[in-house]
């Protein structure tokens, strides 16, 4: 199904959170204020690596209007955070390891006073030699950044013997690929409001992707029970993985506790850049060999990921990359070795695609190069090695069987765009001979869920509330992806409710069950599964109550718009009639009727940590235009085939693929948070270039392939990330088709694509030719 408004008919719905968004009425958590509120600010290290020899806060504390100045001494509990491996100081004690490291924080009456107070804090630093390169970090010469050295995590996978494998290859391609330090660039920077109530409980109003994880981490830092903390975490002005880890919450919570006043923090863009997470820059070296028929014989990969100063989910991102450099192909001999390495560069961490973006760019590049050596069509080479539906997953683990790989491949190769390949007209090229067009494609299978070996709970609750509303309650977060809209649409389409019947409750740890994190393309799948589990329970509970009051057998009742209806056996016999409204039923029941479900994200029967069970498949074709005078690339047309099971919300699905693809366009062409000597050179959006509407002149078709095997019980697969992982290698292939230049480094340097090098042009200009 080609996704668009027209083809979706009545399934294309206005989002329930839309009216408040387009009118500006929606209060984001960073829009909130409270009476008597103080402003919080954080003092961060100017140095990428230094020893702290003294911190003097007296002057700042003495400034009129300053209510608290805190350092590491004021952290009552664990002075560390990190979802998987808490090694990042809340407030540094004796050492800073990057330019975002927090050393002190203040709470003051106004922004100006808070900022003046920061300037009055004196910190004596003894600057230390820095480690700003991940390969250097692994050498014996490099200073050690942590007690265990500079290696956060090493992971790999082996099958057969690559050495003998390469001996038996007809062709071998060796290449090293580099990917940038991409920034999430959520439009709402980090921030929130922190209030200790009269009951001594802390309420945190701050965006996150997993409220219960924040609650656990904050309880550990504040040394108070988790039950004393309430996390309110939606709505969110974008996250993309970047607000998964704690950011300003520890400072807001500590300052609010010490001052006993509400405290608000809202990062400036520069503070967001210097302190926040980025996508791991990776160097991926691949050696891949085939026999003369194009069958893959051996694949050897080395991944070096620059994880920055602290862990967050650096190890898990590496695990994901290790899995996805293997991808949807089968190899006799395989040797993947990956390293996630501490440096004094910016923090790297969780980001949409989660290591897949880098891995897939490299892997697909190998196929294009090998096909050329073989004299084969690049897609033909993929087809010859593509997994069959019954094949095990990348780590030889059992996975949910689907025809996804074949489906997206067939759809893509049948697309008008792909069919145009090789037939590109020369007219435009004659008119502007420096413009070259080309078509390329790439392929992926992208894992969803946190993977084997990691707690990945799911579940939710349905309640017929006292006022007659059907409450759907989950701990998922709305950061723009349209989760509320999708949940509402599922309730309407699967249960028969009207939108007015429904009240959706998310993002408040005091009232929601633990549905796990809103990450890893998992929320829609888990909401769907929850509703599958809940439907028979809720029907049983509510319809049997209704049966008592309407004197009708429960099995002849059904949910409908506004209330409970009789199942009409013969549609001609009588008009549809609501037997009892939900408010009347709720009143008759006297108390809320509640059903809950809890389960675990499906995992594979394997021992390999991080191995996935559910995958989304995608094939992407693009047409690009390369300007050989400027070296600039323009994306003219994109075609995405995505096999992710049934489409729950067509507008949401289309938006996720279009939006993910836009991020991938930036990853491919313009985005890089450039660092030098551990300092950011790109401090704001004037130099860090995310795509604007002008970069999106081209068209995009999104083909959703919904068919799943008949016995499939997993329903819709995640689509939050897959749109962001396959475009870059497709663009690289299209550039090669256009101008015969191979790209190994993203973002693509325009100078690489100039018909003449700048030096040649300069020489020409100077010599007057």
């Amino acid at each position: 199904m080609l996704l668009n408004r027209k083809g979706s008919g009545a399934r294309w719905r206005v989002r329930p959170d839309g009216p408040d968004k387009v009118t500006g009425k929606l209060a984001y958590l960073t829009d909130m204020t409270a009476p008597d509120m103080l402003i919080g600010r954080v003092l961060r290290s100017p140095h990428p690596h230094a020893r702290i020899t003294a911190i003097r806060t007296e002057q700042a504390a003495a400034l009129e209007g300053v209510h608290a100045v805190i350092t590491h001494k004021d952290v009552p509990g664990l002075n560390r955070f990190g979802i998987a491996h808490p090694d990042q100081p809340v407030l540094c004690e004796d050492r800073v390891r990057y330019v975002g490291d927090a050393v002190a924080a203040v709470a003051a009456d106004t922004i100006a006073i808070a900022e003046q107070a920061l300037r009055l804090i004196e910190v004596d630093y003894e600057v230390l030699p820095i480690v700003d390169d991940a390969e250097y970090a692994l050498t014996d010469d490099a200073p050690s950044l942590h007690s265990q050295g500079n290696l956060l995590h090493r992971n790999g996978f082996k099958r057969g013997d690559v050495i003998t494998g390469f001996d038996n290859c007809a062709h071998v391609v060796e290449e090293t690929y580099y990917t940038p330090r991409q920034m999430h660039t959520y439009m709402e920077t980090e921030g929130g409001l922190f209030i200790f109530g009269e009951d001594g409980r802390l309420t945190v109003y701050a965006p996150t992707q997993h409220g219960f994880m924040d609650r656990m981490q904050l309880a550990r830092i504040l040394a108070i029970p988790q039950s004393d903390i309430r996390i309110v975490s939606s709505p969110i002005g974008g996250s993309f993985g970047g607000k998964d880890e704690l950011n300003v919450q520890p400072y807001g919570a500590l300052l609010a506790r010490i001052t006993n006043r509400p405290v608000k923090l809202h990062n400036s863009r520069w503070e967001s850049v210097r302190a926040g997470l980025k996508r791991h820059p990776m160097k991926i070296s691949m050696k891949t060999g085939v026999d003369c028929s194009g069958k893959l014989i051996a694949h050897q990969v080395r991944i070096i990921a620059d994880t920055g100063p602290y862990a967050t989910l650096g190890a898990e991102v590496l695990n994901f990359a290790v899995e996805h450099v293997i991808g949807p192909y089968r190899y006799d001999n395989l040797d993947v070795d990956g390293f996630s390495v501490y440096t004094n560069n910016g923090m790297s961490g969780e980001f949409r695609g989660f290591g897949g973006n880098q891995a897939i760019f490299a892997l697909e590049g190998q196929f294009d190069r090998l096909a050329e050596k073989l004299g084969l069509d690049p897609w033909e080479l993929r087809l010859r090695n593509m997994r069959k539906s019954e094949d095990p997953g990348p780590f030889d683990q059992p996975i949910a069987l689907t025809e996804g790989a074949k489906q997206v491949s067939s759809a893509m190769t049948a697309s008008t765009l792909w069919q145009e390949r090789g037939k590109l007209g020369t007219e435009e090229q004659q008119a502007e001979p420096w413009i070259r067009t080309g078509i390329g494609a790439a392929f992926t299978m992208h894992g969803a869920g946190l993977g084997f070996g990691i707690p990945d709970p799911a579940g939710g609750r349905l309640t017929l509330a006292a006022d007659g509303k059907i409450e759907a309650v989950f701990s998922y977060e709305e950061f723009g992806q349209g989760l509320i809209a999708t949940l509402e649409q599922m309730l309407i389409e699967q249960f028969g409710f009207a939108s007015e019947d429904i009240r959706i409750i998310i993002g408040d740890s005091d009232v929601v069950p633990d549905s796990g994190s809103t990450t890893a393309s998992r929320a829609t799948s888990m909401m769907w599964k929850s509703l599958q589990n809940l439907r028979p329970l809720f029907e049983e509970a509510v319809l049997s109550k209704a049966a008592e009051f309407v004197k009708f057998p429960a099995r002849q009742l059904r949910f409908g718009e506004g209330g409970v209806y009789a199942i009409v056996v013969n549609p001609d016999s009588s008009a549809e009639e609501c037997l009892i409204t939900y408010p009347a039923l709720a009143a008759a029941c006297g108390e809320p009727v509640t059903c809950t479900t809890t389960f675990h994200f499906p995992t594979s029967a394997t021992e390999k940590v991080g191995a996935h069970f559910l995958y989304t498949y995608s094939a992407v074709a693009v047409k690009v235009e390369v300007n050989q005078l400027t070296g600039r690339v323009r994306l003219l047309h994109q075609y995405h085939a995505v096999a992710a099971g049934p489409v729950m919300n067509p507008q949401g699905f289309l938006g996720q693929i279009e939006g993910g693809s836009s991020m991938a366009l930036g990853f491919a062409l313009t985005e890089d948070a450039v660092m030098s000597g551990g300092q950011y050179l790109t401090k704001n959006l004037d130099t860090y270039l995310v795509p604007t509407i002008a970069e999106h002149r081209g068209t995009i078709d999104v083909q959703a392939i919904e068919e799943l095997p008949e016995d499939d019980s997993h329903g819709p697969r995640g689509i939050g990330e897959v749109g962001s992982v396959t475009l870059a290698p497709a663009i690289a292939a299209a550039i090669y088709d256009a101008v015969g230049i191979r790209v190994t480094k993203l973002p693509i340097d325009p100078e690489l694509l100039l018909a003449q090098s700048f030096d040649q042009l300069l020489e020409k200009a100077v010599s007057g030719e």
């Binding site: 408004r5 989002r15 839309g18 009216p19 009425k25 002057q59 439009m187 709402e188 999106h696 002149r697």
Partner: protein
């Protein structure tokens, strides 16, 4: 050093007359205070969003005398005698056709860029009811959206152009 224990004080507030969303008001704020902060912090009008603070992203866009400007780069004194329209003003008479187009076409996701984006679209269409794709591109290239990839936004703008044309034509006929 004793002086530094006192907060640095900004220039004294002065009274700046202007029109805000159709209401004549006096802004009693320091003249160099950014309009963005006047709106959000002094007037509690948070529909105008803060994001880059350097006039690059458009989240804080408002109209001053019908022209779209970044309120993060506009100082209070520059508003003297001017007419300011914020997203709250656009929404004052109910949902504007541009906003309805964004709703129906899915021209937003997280919604944080949306008020600024809608201001830019309104300023464009008020001046040029039938812009070319290149004119749309130019008018909106100062508004960054990180969620949508601009697909829904482009469709919303086209829809808004159609609707405005239709209502103009029907008004012309009935008028």
């Amino acid at each position: 050093m004793k002086d530094s224990m006192r907060p640095l004080t900004p220039l004294e507030a002065s009274s700046i007359p202007c029109t805000l969303n159709g209401h004549e008001i006096n802004l009693n704020v320091p003249p160099a205070k950014r309009l963005l902060h006047v709106l959000r912090d002094d007037l509690a009008m948070t529909g105008t969003k803060r994001s880059c603070d350097i006039g690059r992203c458009g989240a804080c866009m408002v109209m001053v005398d019908g022209v779209p400007v970044n309120s993060c780069l506009t100082m209070a004194y520059q508003c003297s005698g001017k007419s300011i329209t914020t997203i709250e003003g656009v929404s004052a008479g109910g949902i504007d056709p541009i906003q309805r187009a964004f709703l129906e076409e899915g021209g937003f996701q997280c919604g944080y860029c949306t008020p600024g984006m809608i201001i830019s679209v309104k300023a464009l269409l008020d001046h040029n009811p039938d812009p070319t794709p290149l004119q749309i591109e130019e008018a909106l290239s100062g508004n960054i959206c990180r969620c949508t990839g601009y697909g829904g936004i482009k469709r919303a703008v086209q829809k808004a152009i159609e609707w405005r044309k239709e209502s103009y034509e029907s008004e012309s006929i009935s008028g």
